[in-house]
């Protein structure tokens, strides 16, 4: 698995969580992979859904069993 970039958003709360992910993805190329570490609960409920709405694709989820998850996101095409 090629991971092009990683970000940890466990230190912020919604809506900053998604804003940080969005900013990170903007600097990446379509098809590249971003690894995101995020808190269970609100962040996990909202960030993957927002990624979908913006045309990015989550393809792997790992439960870190410490109250956080790591998701792998393939950056979508620009509109």
């Amino acid at each position: 698995m090629n991971i092009d970039n990683t970000i940890d958003i466990t230190d912020v709360v919604c809506p900053v969580t998604y804003v940080k992910v969005k900013v990170e993805l903007e600097d990446m190329e379509p098809g590249q992979v971003l690894s995101v570490r995020l808190n269970s609960g609100d962040a996990m409920q909202n960030v993957p859904r927002s990624l979908k709405n913006d045309g990015h694709r989550v393809f792997d989820v790992t439960d870190n069993e410490d109250g956080t998850y790591t998701i792998l996101v393939e950056r979508g095409q620009d509109d």
């Binding site: 996990m44 409920q45 993957p48 859904r49 979908k52 709405n53 989820v61």
Partner: protein
């Protein structure tokens, strides 16, 4: 208005205050939405005939306190001119509450505002042996606390999983609040426990490959109360998939309440007295 009929006034949304001949005037709102034209009218009336403030009620309504008895007719006329109607109090179908629903909220699964308007048109102000409250919320986040209402309507989705579209990423398991989904990433299997599903639709809205789909519907609860006595509304109906079905259920419930309730008896108490099985049977007959 020397011979004020307080009962008539209450019917029209005038709540008698402890101060002599002063009324807190309840205005009609549907689903908690007020236009700026209405706000300007309300501002004018509260400033001219009230004490320069309004009170926001617990059911998304507005009251203008300190309206004098002699001003009631003028106030009614001025409000009507500005597109504001009086609310209702007493033994009637009360203000219908609703969240913003799927027209605005990313979590919304149903058009709560549309349902609220339709319910108001069909049932608003209808007289009963006791008050009856309807509340509508767009999804299982339940911002509008539907189970507090005599009849609650909550948006939901009954999800269906499509094996061929699934990449077994595990996202649905992670977002499912009721642990109804288990994904085995290694063996590429998924199990779904329908009994545990709360119709929240998180799997459908987050699935990156649309392997989860589902039709939105209405999850109805009955018999909620949140006053001197507290009862949580019960869910025993399947998710209703059409508006027609929803109104047939509401019709049956309201007719039952109208014909069986004792004066002042709330719906939950009526049903407890006569039997939940009777109501369930009546409702199932129209589905």
């Amino acid at each position: 208005m020397a011979d004020a009929n307080f009962k008539e006034l209450k019917k029209g949304g005038f709540m008698k205050q402890k101060q002599k001949d002063r009324f807190s005037m309840r205005l009609k709102t549907i689903g908690g939405q007020v236009t700026i034209q209405q706000l300007e009218t309300i501002r004018h009336v509260a400033g001219t005939y009230g004490h320069g403030y309004i009170h926001l009620t617990s059911r998304q309504g507005i009251e203008i306190p300190f309206i004098a008895l002699e001003d009631i007719d003028t106030v009614k006329k001025e409000l009507a001119k500005g597109g504001v109607q009086n609310g209702v109090c007493g033994a009637r179908l009360r203000t219908i509450t609703a969240c913003q629903g799927n027209a605005v909220c990313p979590s919304g699964l149903i058009d709560t505002q549309h349902i609220a308007k339709e319910c108001e048109a069909r049932y608003g102000g209808r007289e009963f042996p006791a008050k009856f409250k309807i509340g509508i919320t767009g999804c299982p986040n339940n911002c509008l606390k539907t189970e507090e209402n005599d009849l609650g309507i909550k948006g939901g989705i009954e999800p269906q999983w499509h094996h061929d579209d699934c990449i077994f990423c595990g996202l649905c398991q992670a977002v499912c609040p009721s642990s109804a989904i288990t994904v085995n990433k290694k063996e590429k299997t998924l199990s779904f426990s329908k009994d545990q599903c709360i119709f929240c639709g998180k799997c459908v809205t987050t699935c990156p490959t649309s392997a989860w789909t589902g039709q939105a519907g209405y999850n109805v609860s009955l018999g909620g109360l949140y006053g001197k006595q507290i009862t949580i509304g019960r869910h025993f109906l399947p998710l209703l998939h059409s508006e027609d079905e929803l109104y047939r259920v509401i019709d049956v419930v309201l007719d039952f309440f109208e014909s069986h309730a004792k004066p002042g008896e709330r719906f939950a108490r009526t049903v407890e007295r006569i039997g939940w099985d009777k109501v369930e049977q009546l409702v199932r007959e129209v589905l």
